[in-house]
Every structure is written in C-alpha cells, then in structure tokens.
Amino acid sequence: MARACLASIPPTMSSDRRFGPSRTVTLSGPLRLDGGATLAPVEIAYETYGTLAADASNAVLVCHALTGDQHVASEHPRTGKPGWWTRMVGPGKPVDTSRHFVICANVLGSCMGSSGPASADPATGRPYAMRFPVITIRDMVRAQGMLLDHLGVARLAAVVGGSMGGMQALSWAATYPDRVRAAVVIASTARHTAQNIAFHEVGRQAVMADPNWRGGDYYDREPPAAGLAVARMAAHITYLSEAGLTEKFGRKLQARDAKSFGFDADFQVESYLRHQGLSFVDRFDANSYLYITRAMDYFDLAEEHGGRLADAFRGTATRFCVVSFDTDWLYPTAESRGVVHALNAAGAAASFVELSSPFGHDAFLLESPELSRVVDGFLRSVA
C-alpha cells in the first residue's frame, strides 16, 4: 500500500515537493461522482503549513466556504490580501501551524486551480464550461480524500470548516468516519433549506440572465461580470445581520448631502454592495459559482443516510464541536441544534455552543475571542 509506505518513511519536508504553499497535484482518478459521472484526471490546488509528524498524526484539514480558496493563511495571489482565516490558522493560533500539519485545498468545481468548469476538458482541450459534471459536497470530500492519500495522511486529527466548510467537515465525518478523529463545524448546516436554495437560485439566475454568460461558453470572451456581481450582492446580504448593516451604514448617504432623486448609489449600503460585487468578479469564475452553489443546494446529509441524520453518525468515534452565531440567519442556530440532536441520538461525543456576535453569518471569519477559545480548547483536547 502506497499509503503505508508513505506513513512509515518520514517525509523530509523541505525537499518533499508535496508540501508547502501553492501546490497543485494531478491525480489520475477516476473520481466517481454522486451524479453518476466520473472525473479524470482530478487536479487539486492546495497548500500545507507546518510539519507532518513522522506518524502523520497531526494533520488538520481546513475546508473553505463557497467563494474561499486554499490560501487560508497565505496572501491571495490575485487580490494580494492576507489569507482568509489568519485569525484561526497560524503559529500560536487555534489551528496551530507549529503543532499541526495544516492542509487547505481548493474545492472541486472552484476556480483557483482545482478541477472546475474553467479547467480544460481532456476530451476537447477546451474549457469544460457547463459540460463539467455537477458535483456534490461529498464529491468535494472524496477529492480531498484522494489528496490525503497523495500526502500520506491516512487519518486526520481534525477537519475544520465554517459555512460550506462546515458541510464538508460533516460530510467527512459521515463519509470517512475512520479517517477523522475530530470535526469542527462552524456556522453551518446539515442541509440546505428552501430559503437557502431560493437565495442561491436568485444568484444563478442573475448569472445566466447576463447576455455575456452564453450558456457558460465565455472563456475566450467577456465574462458575465454584471450577472455575477448581482449574484454576489444578493448573497452578501445573507452573510450579514440586519443590525450589523444598520450599525455600519444605517441610512447614511454616500459622499453626498442629499438624495439625488436618481438611481446612483445614494446610500452607503448600495455603494458597499456594488463594491462587493465588482471586486468579487475579479477573482471568481461565474460558472464555478453556479456549480458550487448547486452542490450546496443538493446537500442534505440526512437524505444520504435514509432520511435520518443520526444514521450519518451511527457508531462514530469522531468527536464533534459545533458552533453557531446568534445573528446568523443564513444557517441559524436551529440548524446547528438539529446536527447536535442527531449527534446525541447517535451517542457521539459532541460539544455545541451558540456564540453572540452582531455580524451575522460572516462572524465565523471575523475576530471572535470566544470562537478562538472554543476551537483552541477543543483541538488541544483531541489533537
């Protein structure tokens, strides 16, 4: 077994090209997808931080959210911004790169180097576009499983994720219970509700209504930036709380003393959303947005296990830490409680806490000493 060999020979981190920032690997696959199709080869862009222990026991997989990427704690190559979760991942942070070997991979279907609709279809040499197979959260997890095989990690000390990253963490625990000692699920859910699907559908329709979308075949032309920007604007509202928006913007006007009686961005909140939309299209592929939102909408962990969520975790030895935020109305506390209920019914070791924050769903990405304390304490007790 290749895996056993890798585990028995401690990799020399400095010379092993599998480890470090900005890695890409082409795995031959094939990866069998929930939708029935197979994908081969499978490209995965990822980063690792820290040193893999000789017995490979200290690996922590960080899973990113819908529009996230593998640059969890390193500068984003296109925007130049710091990693998206430097509050959580780094030396001395809860996911401590001086203790843990941290892996973060761009999800299947995304656009930062992993196989997705912008990748070349080996059959034609041209971008897949909408010929890319529809994928699920579990397909993303299976692809990550292939990556761990490649890295010589048989078993994760922990899988950690917020939002869609939390869905992957749950899916990891359900799909590969023997490969996950602990799972941290933050501001997430075990299924997309009708409201979640509805908001995503607004975004997808905005993309597809843009004449530049052209059925997805825009890679050698102007991309559907206007449609994608509107999709991002609508989604961004769901990431914030009403109180947070009021506190930040209220009804304040944007660089003017009076309403214009026109349709400029009179209000600061309009200007802010337009900026969010426009800056998003510079870094994200519209078709990837369609595929990943679809994967999230298809996510229903109970459905994958005969309709009973508890059965997804039956007999599990994985320890769980579930965290929600009181102002998150995208994946409200009730969804996390549903997960905890199922974990209790399955007899799993589960912790759950609802933290207080004014920032809505986005709170998991922002400064939160309580979140850091909970995740730090939990990971210290398991890894």
Binding site: S351, F352, E370, R373, V374, G377
Partner: protein, 195 residues
C-alpha cells in the same frame, strides 16, 4: 481539585468508566474530575454559553441547552447516570425534568438546597422576609431558584411518581448530617434515584 460537597458525594459514588450526563454542568468541574479521576465518559448540558465555552476549552463534550427543553433530544437509557446538581430548583417544570433524567439515565443523581433548613425557617418566621442565606444568597427578585423545595417535598414527590431513592446523603456546612432530621438540619440533599 476541591469539589463542592454535593459534587464530591456524587463523584465518590460513580464507578470508573461509567457513561454520565451532567445536566447544568457549569464549567464542567464535576465532569473534569470524573474524567480525570475515573476515566468516566462524561457529557454535559449547560445553559450559559460562557460556561460552555469554558468547558469545551477543557476538552469536555458539552452542549449548550436548556434542561427544560433540550433533554428531549437525548435517547432513552443512553447513560448510566444523569446528574442534576443544584439545578432542579431553577427549572420551569422540575417534575418533567426529573422524568427526563430517569428516562435518559439508568440512574439519576439529584442534588438541591433544602428550603426547610432551620436557618431558612427562622429567617422566614422571625424576619418575615424571604431568606438570604449562605446557600440561598440571592434576593427574591434576582434568584434563579424559582421552584423552592424541601427534603420532605422531594420524598413525597418520589413516592407519588413511584421513583425509588436508592440512597440519600444530607449535608450541612459541607459535612454529612443525619438522615433522621434531614428536613430540618440539612442544607443540601443528594439523592440517587432509579425508576
């Protein structure tokens, strides 16, 4: 680690390796003592998020929730012991919480402050005011204790419900006191119950 006297009694009477649910576990002091001292598989339920965060940070499995509502989430007989220490008198429906404890645990430890202790009686009789004592330090309007009970109330309730008290311990000033006059002399009572 020094445990509160009623917790000490409970900790001393749980066998190693047992499965335990501590309802109202606070920061998990008892759970940690059971885990570290006896290898007990302890889970907790706690209403205050800061206490939950503190317990999780100790590596304990604690779920934020309300004993009045969230015990319904736990399966029948999932634990050897369900523990409710100093929490019964704060619940909205203590009778239903007791039923839930005995459904979830094969046995239940329940501890509570005895409202018929002679100091409490004296305070009410001679002072004519709701008692503020060492064990009941809050005033009438800010006390979390909304269902005061006495040792005799509790015994009568067990009789009504057909619940067996396998053992009982009575404490005053941190020491064991005689069961005979417990309703007058005990500040705290600890009961080990089963259906």
């Amino acid at each position: 680690m020094t445990l509160r006297p009623d917790l000490r009694v409970i900790a001393d009477h749980i066998e190693p390796g047992a499965r335990v649910l501590d309802v109202g576990c606070g920061e998990g002091t008892l759970m940690a003592a059971l885990r570290d001292g006896k290898g007990v598989d302890a889970r907790g339920l706690e209403i205050d998020p800061l206490n939950v965060a503190a317990a999780v940070a100790r590596g304990l499995s604690v779920v934020q929730g309300d004993a009045d509502v969230d015990l319904a989430d736990y399966p029948d007989g999932g634990f050897d012991y369900a523990i409710l220490s100093q929490t019964l008198q704060t619940t909205r429906a203590p009778d239903r919480v007791l039923d839930e404890l005995l459904r979830i645990g094969r046995r239940a430890f329940v501890s509570f402050p005895n409202f018929a202790h002679w100091r409490v009686r004296a305070s009410l009789l001679w002072g004519g005011r709701m008692p503020v004592t060492r064990l009941l330090p809050e005033r009438w309007y800010d006390t979390p204790n909304i269902h005061h009970l006495t040792v005799d109330d509790f015994r009568a309730h067990l009789d009504d419900r057909g619940v067996t008290a396998e053992r009982a311990w009575f404490l005053a000033r941190g020491r064991r006191t005689r069961p005979a006059a417990a309703n007058l002399l005990a500040e705290h009572a600890v009961f080990l119950l089963r259906l």
